[in-house]
């Protein structure tokens, strides 16, 4: 088993954070995992992506050009769609994108997630990353919700942001139960 996911969006959307939570959850299931962030002069609003590779075996390249799954957090991230592996999965944060399909790539499975009304209901504009992560977990069943919640708690507490656990947990659950 070798699976990869790219989460692509803008700095400030929590893409790196979502990728790390997911990677820690994978570790808890005793699988091999690599997490590779885009790094450099990143800033809020600039490009920010991360790649997570999961395998039962030793992982070769942690950098993947053809992911199995792509999470599109904003409009410019549509650029990545052409590289998604055949018959792959694309999850789109559709309230921030003009397009809601993958153009020529008819082979791809697409899930559009209109996050705006959910964020309004949750009364927090900052947790679309967790909603989409929840959708991804449900769609692939790749790690358990239990381990993801434990990873979320661990990461937030590590960063001294334990008080945001509840809202992130809620967003993750809403995403998970959406489809």
């Amino acid at each position: 088993m070798l699976k990869s996911i790219i989460i692509a969006g803008a700095g400030g959307q929590g893409n790196i954070f979502a990728g790390e939570v997911f990677a820690v959850a994978v570790l808890k299931e005793n699988k091999n995992v690599t997490f590779y962030p885009s790094y450099g002069p990143q800033m809020r609003g600039g490009k920010s992506t991360c790649t997570v590779v999961i395998s039962d075996e030793e992982i070769g390249s942690p950098i993947v050009n053809t992911p199995d799954v792509l999470i599109v957090m904003n409009e410019p991230s549509f650029d990545f769609i052409k590289n998604v592996r055949r018959d792959g999965l694309v999850i789109i944060n559709s309230s921030l994108t003009k397009y809601h399909d993958c153009g020529e790539r008819k082979d791809l499975r697409i899930i559009n997630v209109n996050t705006a009304p959910i964020l309004e209901k949750l009364n927090s504009p900052k947790v679309s990353n967790m909603i989409l992560l929840g959708v991804y977990l449900k769609a692939t069943g790749i790690v358990s919700m239990e381990n993801t919640l434990a990873a979320l708690k661990e990461k937030l507490e590590e960063e001294g942001k334990g008080k945001f656990l509840e809202i992130n947990r809620q967003a993750l659950m809403v995403g998970y139960n959406l489809f």
């Binding site: 590779y36 790094y39 002069p41």
Partner: protein, 347 residues
């Protein structure tokens, strides 16, 4: 844990007494981690005003008998070179981490392997060598950094951990096993001469014959290291292997992906992944080249082709050695390397 953090944690567990450094992407997390953890775990951390200052502080700390380390990337490593040459003749143990980024010049901050010539062949002046270890995963970065302090002390030589931006930034699970560091007596250290004859550490001698003697002693030591400290990993190499990929660091692990993909395509590709770049496994590659006379070699690097020169020396038949590289901070994808292998009919 990030590669950079694993390096820093391994250094502390190996008994690091003194660290001095100056921030530079993509190596900064080493300094950040040590700033947070080293002082509370019994060591001294200094953020120096420059890379030159940092390496000179390491020189002093090592002369005093401390386990000392610094870290940097391309431009910062260039600044350190004069002092590294001094430390080499002074025969002092220390660990220097280079997390390579795109060059030359200020270049960029993405992963590269274009410091191979500088680090493996010299960089500073004079006939010196450094032990150069090139981890390819976060776990190996941890393992080799831990061990590098032992090697440095055993051979009284600077050891370089040569990584790249991808190794520094990637996060993986790491087994932080508990192992007591092996510590060495250092009777040569400048530890205060009260009650004993003063020690002298001077990388300088105006008498040519005397300096030649010092050089001969260094060379003897280097021959012994060459005989004992070569490290590499062979994957899938046997008499049927048509092509052997030669790579290190991040390209070394990318090559493992190539081998898996090749198996699915029914291609016979092997890998020799170099762990020590100096000493270089010349004998092992020579052995493979002689025993498998129809096998070709493909060197994969994130550079214009630097290590490929050493592989050519070992294989001693340039027609059997090809090169694939990306530069400027571009990390090659396994698919594009495999395409190149098929296009050139190497396998």
């Amino acid at each position: 844990m990030k590669g950079n953090e694993a390096i820093a944690e391994a250094a502390i567990r190996a008994g690091l007494n003194f660290y001095a450094g100056y921030p530079i992407t993509p190596a900064t997390e080493i300094l950040e981690y040590l700033a947070r953890h080293l002082p509370v775990r019994g060591g001294v951390f200094v953020q120096a005003a420059s890379e030159i200052e940092a390496i000179n502080m390491v020189y002093g700390a090592a002369a005093g008998g401390a386990r000392a380390m610094t870290s940097s990337s391309g431009p910062g490593m260039s600044l350190k070179m004069e002092c590294i040459s001094y430390i080499a003749l002074a025969e002092l143990p220390c660990v220097i981490v280079d997390i390579m980024r795109g060059g030359p010049g200020l270049g960029d901050i993405q992963p590269a392997q274009s410091d191979y010539f500088q680090i493996v062949k010299g960089g500073g002046h004079g006939d010196y060598r450094l032990i150069v270890l090139a981890p390819s995963t976060v776990q190996e970065a941890y393992d080799l950094t831990f061990e590098s302090f032992l090697l440095a002390d055993r051979w009284r030589i600077p050891v370089i951990i040569l990584g790249d931006g991808a190794l520094g930034q990637v996060k993986e699970g790491v087994d932080l096993y508990d192992k007591a560091p092996v510590l060495f007596e250092k009777p040569w250290a400048l530890s205060g001469a009260k009650g004993r004859k003063p020690n002298k550490i001077v990388p300088f001698n105006l008498e040519a014959l005397e300096l030649e003697k010092m050089n001969l002693a260094l060379q003897n030591k280097y021959r012994a290291i060459e005989a004992q400290e070569v490290r590499f990993e062979n994957v899938n190499i046997n008499s049927k292997t048509k092509l052997i990929v030669v790579a290190y660091g991040t390209c070394g692990r990318i090559a493992k992906s190539i081998i898996k993909m090749a198996v699915e395509k029914g291609l016979d590709i092997g890998l020799i992944r170099l762990i020590s770049l100096w000493p270089f496994p010349h004998n092992e590659i020579r052995y493979l080249a002689r025993n498998f006379p129809s096998t070709k070699f493909l060197v994969v690097e994130m550079s214009a082709g630097q290590m490929v020169e050493d592989v050519r020396l070992s294989v001693s038949d340039d027609t059997r050695v090809s090169f694939f590289g990306r530069m400027g901070g571009v990390v090659p994808a396994p698919e594009e390397i495999l395409r190149e292998i098929e296009r050139k009919g190497l396998c």
